[in-house]
Symmetry: C2
Subunit: 382 residues, 2 copies
């Protein structure tokens, strides 16, 4: 390419690009975090998060990445020796297992083939082996681009072990796909600012059901920073136990306002449309996708490069030649796939630009693809 592109295109599954409305909201003076001005913002964010979660449960906010939120869920509800099932469909499933093991839970790490969702029948069989304290799962597995059927999995737990905790990492899935915290009776649900909320990373939120509060009372995992008990005194005042990340909280307030203006169903439909465009283009090009249509994530798509092309090379060339940042394969998938994020502040035209870059790149590499067909297929869906 002789002409240099000057714009940077972020196409990873979080952080997502940030709308200028949110950047502007964050471009805010600091105010006293124990004073009434900040309290009001914090209470608004907690209320709007309840809207996003579809819950009446408490929601606490931590200065943390999403992984910290996963740890919050574990250390506040479990005790060493507790039997738990981790439905492990990818890298973040493995992370849940690692966190539980770090806190000495007795982990049944139930692994599914990468690219497949957790199978309710397998869960049923595992639950029949004996009582567990909790079942932990991802709503959306970022590393494989697979959406779990949380509703059916949760119903399976409630049918066989009504008192078991259901702990859901919804960091990359929240607002990209439906998640009905109360209707599905989910006990702890974790989200992060840098995904569909369209805010920079640094805020994690967790919801806590009555069942989770009961588990907290007997939980023996050591904790301080993440301790629900220390937050419980502060949250009703619109405070946090430690100093809140104010600028990100201002961003969350604006991001949630934008999502409410757009409407829940529209937000879900937008993510679904993004997913369909990426998948249609890849299929028309002749590229293989890791997830099948029935379980494909509305937040991120994992794509096999054409034969003979390494996923890491795709990532490097997309960056060097087109200023497009795509995500790598993680763990056992490193080099085998690359991923395109299409959640948050990303829309179909952004995706068509990125898909054009992919087509041109593979053509340059001499890969056998149906040049032109990818973008064309995407356009048919606009």
């Amino acid at each position: 390419m002789s002409r240099k592109l000057i714009k940077y295109n972020l196409m990873i599954p979080g952080p997502t690009p940030i709308p200028t409305r949110i950047l502007a909201a964050m471009n805010h003076d600091m105010i006293g975090h124990r004073g009434p001005l900040f309290s009001a913002v914090m209470k608004e964010v907690m209320e709007d998060l309840k809207w996003a979660y579809e819950t009446k449960n408490d929601i606490f906010i931590y200065p943390s990445s999403g992984t910290g939120g996963m740890e919050v869920a574990v250390v506040n509800t479990l005790s060493p020796g507790d039997k738990v099932i981790v439905l492990n469909i990818g890298n973040f499933g493995s992370r849940f297992a690692k966190i539980c093991k770090a806190y000495e839970a007795d982990v049944n790490d139930v692994k599914f083939e990468r690219g497949r969702p957790a199978d309710p029948k397998v869960l049923e069989a595992e639950l029949k082996k004996g009582p567990v304290k909790a079942v932990l799962l991802q709503q959306n597995e970022t590393s494989t681009g697979v959406l779990n059927d949380v509703e059916t999995l949760a119903r399976t737990v409630r049918k066989l072990q009504p008192d078991a905790l259901i702990i859901v990492d919804a960091v990359s899935g929240m607002m990209a796909a439906p998640l009905k915290t109360d209707e599905w009776d989910l006990d702890v649900v974790v989200s992060g600012s840098q995904k569909a909320f369209m805010v920079p990373p640094g805020v994690a939120a967790v919801s806590i059901s009555a069942r989770a509060w009961k588990a907290y009372e007997t939980s023996k995992c050591p904790k301080h920073y993440w301790d629900f008990g220390l937050m419980k005194e502060q949250a009703p005042k619109g405070h946090t136990y430690t100093t809140p990340p104010e600028s990100l909280i201002f961003g969350m307030a604006e991001g949630l306002k934008m999502l409410k203006e757009e409407g829940r169903e529209n937000v879900h439909a937008r993510h679904k449309a993004n997913r369909d465009i990426v998948r249609a283009a890849c299929k028309a090009l002749g590229l293989k996708l890791l997830a099948d249509d029935a379980h494909a994530s509305p937040a991120v798509t994992a794509i096999f490069p054409p034969e003979g092309v390494d996923g890491e090379e795709v990532r490097k060339l997309m960056r060097d030649d087109f200023n497009v940042e795509v995500a790598p394969g993680q763990s056992e998938l490193k080099g085998k796939i690359f991923r395109i994020g299409h959640l948050g502040y990303v829309d179909s035209l952004d995706l068509i630009g990125a898909l054009a870059a992919i087509e041109v790149l593979f053509k340059r590499l001499g890969a056998k693809i149906n040049f032109g067909n990818g973008v064309r297929a995407a356009m048919e869906l606009l």
Copy 2:
């Protein structure tokens, strides 16, 4: 007051006001946090933090408030049952003790009178009672406005127990007062973005000496999110284990650049001058200060209101009548004192404005003060 003031004045010991240069730096698109652009920023921040810390030790960065950084220090170096001494001169000393107890360390919680620093002779006597794994202390105790003599305390530890870890919470003291990590042989030093770095809250940094790395090898506290081992693989690449709070990292890069331009000695002198102005004004007004001159903090000053006036009332009226946010007394000092923060992006003229408000407020309340003398004394020091 018939005229309404329209500007908000933040006079708490963190978060501090944010310079527009830093706000502008934070007003930045998100970029791939595992790509070369972000790596370069992260490496720059880690290098500049070494300058701030005066250290060659590793420095790791976490998405967290300062308290999270304190927990990082504890869980990576200690094991349940370890004997530790906490030099407790205020609320954050108590917090260190609570964190150590949460992780089942055997805590010798050595309390000093509020308003006094830790006495090296008392430390010496405690160290003579038997070996400890670590001594934990604040460089600057935010709740009382007292600066510890970290150099002498550290030398006392090294003289009697050369292998004990010295863990310093420098969250509110870093860059407000000298802290020579390597020269004083400090093992883990914790700082936070929202203090003298002039960045919004949400980033904690910790330095790790060779002695601390050795302690990490045998540490048995459960951990995942805070785990040095998981960060060690990522830091040399300019990455973090989990997703970094990008906008705050852009802010840290700019804040550190500003501090380097100003020069370390000038930064320290500025904080000292702020302290002297506040203290001179309060004394001239006839107000009692919690800390004596020899140990007064350059970051925050704790002030007793005039007889018959409650500290919380001062806080409320300063806010309602003058748009000035001052900090409350914490724990046993609640209502008894109020605090003025003078660290970070605050200068002497800001303080004179706030001191004027205090004088007028106390006059309105009918308190016996030497009206006019406070600001006048401050002006003499300009």
